[in-house]
Every structure is written in structure tokens, then in C-alpha cells.
Symmetry: C2
Subunit: 320 residues, 2 copies
């Protein structure tokens, strides 16, 4: 595959999906009659919590890694992340047999450090600030020649994240969805999802969902300019980042609306999925379901696809 | 279907499976490469935690309920249980449009009371002793004419529980299992599983798994007489009961071995499934996986089917 320097086409998305097949699971789409009854909607959950490394991030990391030349790849993959993207880049590098260099804040949870190291990555610790992360990453890249894989603001990554929606749309083709909704953090999944839906199913509405506490995407969509968050005080730890210019450009053209929800609604939706669907999801991916409960008139009677983005949770620190 | 008064035949099991189809989900069989690597075995998890009411008990309750005459059924279904069997009987009655009468100890968790009531059952509370339960049940049956559905010592129930293994064997037919293992409480699932395997796949070994703290089934199998437990101090709350004479008769002839495991091994196996498979399982169904870890030489290199029996857990009281 070639490097993507412009918005991926539907052919790019399909080529990406074929190329990353051995790096990902084709995750199931689940339903839950109890939650359908509670919401009055027909919900289809795309279970990326069952994805390799426990999150959709595997798709984007594989897509970006596979687009490097053999020579580039041999020098390794690098990123800064304390979360799922770190594990995804480490796992992609492991499968390609090349080094991974991950910059992590020194306060990253031990379990995430261990998982990243378990995939064979070299971890560089830095102070827990954005500046320290970026400086440490630049040093790693300068020292190793590794390629930085951005967690979201990269068309190669966006093309990978889009493949989750491609699968969801295929697997619900017999009873086509009317709405597809994803959570919005940096916007990689959101923009990829919007592209996949627009290209293949232009009649389906595309919504984002976001914690009220970090509603930068909602403000960006409604103001036309990338907004930032004054705080990162949300339980949805995957959604604290701001949009990038590439993801925002796609989102502003292809996302119909963004719904914001309270922290209480996120926790209640997360617990409901655990209790009734018997699956483990992160707080971040409870945000779309929280939106279904918070805006019932929008979703009642509709067939709605929700992307459950990941299942990496510290079981020792649950929010209830 | 007719009432079963003798050990169910393979034809009985197949007829049961067809009859209960609208009462149950066909649950998936999951695998986990990480746990396979850790154990050196190839494990196939039959996910009854995704079953209706969150447990395999739905199968046995539906099987027993569907064998009642219309006249019997119209007077209702009754049982005593604070656990999954109560919800299964209540749900079966609801689907048949007949009353359900459930006797519960007064200290049954509020969430289980609510779930049982949610299926439309009438709950009678009693003191938390075996005697009080049985007395209360007799009173309910005398008052209502409802039919008591025993949680395990009933061939109609056993035939229902056997259908989980029938599905597991069908879904792994391309790479046949070498061992099938289920947890042992009262023995309904264990005896049904053993029958299903023996009838369809006589070359497969059938194992039970049990907490060391309540090893009545292990002692029964090795002594030839039904043993009882001096204590019920195990986290595996579904496995505290003793065998019945019907379940023991099947188990002694068709179960090859029972493996006992420590409480620590149960908790570790449960947490591992939550963390790596991203699914919620009860402590009781972590017991077979705990056996795989506790007796590595028995399982290494083998294709092993494990029945994950249920996913009803109080999320506010986790064992870690």
C-alpha cells in the first residue's frame, strides 16, 4: 500500500481492510434485547473491545505500519501514548518483526506499561506533560530513525480506523442501520467512521458522542474552528484529546451531529453494558450508549450502530 | 415432549434442544490466544454467560417447563433459589404466560430479587436455611398447585443442561475436542454434559471441576457414595450444593475425573478472563479454567472445551 497524503477514498479503505486482515480480529456485532427495550431503539454494538490489544487502535496502527517501506519499517515504529495506541503500535511492530519505541508518562498505569513491554516495545518515560512527551519522542526518533505514528491525525491511521465501520455496515446489511455513532476523542475513529458510512451508505446519519466535560468536538463542529478543552476531568480517558486538523476537516463535512453526555450517564451506560451484555467495555465506549439514553427522541425507533471502542479497564479501580 | 423418568437418551437431548430453541440463545464459542499461550492448551469457551437470564440454567428450566401439560403449566412453576435457577424459572414461566412462584431467602441480593420480579414472578421470602426454604416451597405448592422445578436433580432439567455441550461439540466439530470440562455444583450441568459427550463423541474425556473448599463431588466420585460439604465457604456461589442421586448416578458412570482447585486459583482465573477476554463471568465458571492452570500436565497440548456457566455478578462486590 502507498502512503496516504489526502483523505482516503473508498478504494483506500477497502485496500486497507484487506491488508490489515492478519493484524486484526473481525469483531462480532452484538445486540441486547433488554437494552433495546429500555431505549426503544434497535442497537447494534460493534465489539472492538474484543479487538487485538483490546481496542480499535490496532486497526490504525497496522494500517500505518504496513504503509512504511521495508527500509523505514526496519528502523522501527515510535509513538507517545499511555493508552491503547501504545499497545497497538507495539503489537504491530512485533508482528512485523521491527522495533517499537514508546514514550510514556512516568505515571502511566503499571498494567499498561507491562502490556506494552509484553509486546516487546522499548519504553521511554517522561514527565506527564504534553511538552515532555513531545520532546522525549523527538529524541527517540532522532536517536533511532523510527517513524512516528500519530494516534489520530494521520490519513493512514484514519483509513485503518474506518475499517471497523466497514465491517459493521457489512454485518448489518440485511437490516440496514439508520444511524452510526462513535465516540470522539482526537477524531481518528470518528473521521474514519464518517468516511466509511458516507462512501457506502450515504443515507445513514453519522453522529459523534462526547463527554460534556471535554466537549471540544461539539464546540469545534458548531464554531467551525478546532476548540480545545480547559480540563480533562472525565472518566472517559480515551476522549480527553482535542481534534487534529485532518480529523476535524473530515468531521465537519461528514458528521451530522455530536451529542454530549454527563459523567453520570457514562458510568450508568458502562455499568448497564457490563451487567446486561456481560462484556467489559471502557468508559470511553459507553459514551455513545449514554447519548442514546440522554437524547431518547433522537434514537427511539431507529436502528443504531454503536462502536464499542475498547475493553482495557483497570479492574481494581471501577467507577462504582 | 413427554416427561423424562429415566436417564435421557440422545434422542431426548436432541428433541429437547429443538423444543427450547425459542427460549435460549445459541451462545458463541470463544477462544483467546493469550490464555492458550499461558496454558499451552487450546481452549474453547462455551459462553453461557451470554445465555438468556445470564446463565445455562435457562436451558434446564425451559426443558422442564415445556414438558408440563397445559393444565399443569397453567397452575404455574415454582422453585426455591436465590440464584440463576430462580430467574430461569421465572423467565420460562413468563414466556409460557403462566405464573411463577419463587421462594428466596430473605438475605438474597437485592439485584437478584429485582431481576426475578422483573420477569413477573411472585417472590416468597423465607429464613436463610434449607429447612425454611423447603417448608416455604411446600406451602407455595400446596396453595397454588404449581409444579416444583428442581434446580438439578430432575431428568427434564438435566436434558436441558445437556444442550450446551451439544452445541459446543457441534461448533468445534472441525477440530474435535479431546476434553470437555464443566463445573460441578448439584451436578445438573455436569451430568447433562457427560451424557451429551458420551452419546455423540465417546472418545472425548469428560472432566468436572470443583472448589477444594466444597469438594463433595470429588469425594462422591472416589467413594461411590454421595458426600456432603461441611462448609459452603467458597467464592463459587453456584457450586455450594451437594449432588443429587440422579445427577450422581450419571456422573459416576460418565465423568472421568473431577479436579479440585483453590480459591486463589478461582479468583485468578476469573480475573484473567475479565482482563484478557473482556467478558464477565461468575466465579463458578472460572473453576474449570482454574483447573487447567492447576493441573498443567493434564491439559497441555490438548483441545479443551470449557463451559462458562454464567455472568451474573454483583459488580459492587468483586473479589479483588
Amino acid at each position: 500500500m502507498h502512503q496516504l497524503h489526502t483523505i482516503p477514498s473508498i478504494e483506500d479503505l477497502r485496500a486497507t481492510h484487506a491488508a490489515i486482515a492478519s493484524f486484526i480480529h473481525r469483531t462480532p456485532v452484538m445486540t441486547c434485547s433488554t437494552i433495546d427495550k429500555m431505549t426503544g431503539a434497535e442497537l447494534y454494538f460493534k465489539c472492538e473491545n474484543f479487538q487485538k490489544v483490546g481496542a480499535f487502535k490496532m486497526r490504525g496502527a497496522a494500517s500505518a505500519a504496513l504503509r512504511l517501506s521495508a527500509e523505514q519499517a526496519s528502523r522501527g515504529l515510535a509513538t507517545h501514548s499511555s493508552g491503547n495506541h501504545a499497545q497497538a503500535v507495539a503489537r504491530a511492530a512485533q508482528q512485523l518483526g521491527v522495533p517499537a519505541y514508546i514514550v510514556m508518562p512516568s505515571n502511566a498505569p503499571a498494567i499498561k506499561q507491562a502490556a506494552t513491554r509484553g509486546y516487546g516495545a522499548e519504553i521511554t518515560f517522561c514527565a506527564p506533560t504534553v511538552e515532555a512527551r513531545e520532546t522525549a519522542l523527538q529524541e527517540v526518533v532522532a536517536r533511532t530513525g523510527a517513524t512516528f505514528i500519530h494516534p489520530y491525525n494521520d490519513y493512514n491511521v484514519i483509513a485503518g480506523q474506518a475499517t471497523a465501520a466497514l465491517e459493521l455496515l457489512e454485518d448489518t446489511a440485511a437490516k440496514p442501520l439508520q444511524i452510526v455513532m462513535a465516540p470522539v476523542g482526537g477524531g481518528g475513529l470518528m473521521s474514519g467512521t464518517a468516511l466509511a458510512v458516507r462512501y457506502t451508505s450515504p443515507g445513514i446519519q453519522v453522529f459523534g458522542a462526547e463527554p460534556k466535560a471535554v466537549d471540544d468536538a461539539w464546540r469545534s463542529l458548531h464554531s467551525g474552528h478546532i476548540a480545545s478543552n480547559a480540563t480533562t476531568q472525565t472518566i472517559a480517558d480515551g476522549l480527553r484529546t482535542n481534534l487534529g486538523e485532518k480529523t476535524f476537516d473530515i468531521i465537519r463535512h461528514h458528521v451530522d451531529e455530536i451529542y454530549t453526555v454527563s459523567e453520570e450517564a457514562i458510568i450508568a451506560a458502562m455499568r448497564l453494558v457490563w451487567e446486561r451484555m456481560k462484556i467489559i467495555i471502557e468508559p470511553s465506549c459507553a459514551v455513545p450508549l449514554a447519548a442514546v439514553f440522554s437524547y431518547p427522541d433522537v434514537f427511539r425507533g431507529k436502528r443504531v450502530g454503536l462502536i464499542l471502542t475498547g475493553g482495557n479497564v483497570d479492574l481494581g479501580e471501577l467507577p462504582w
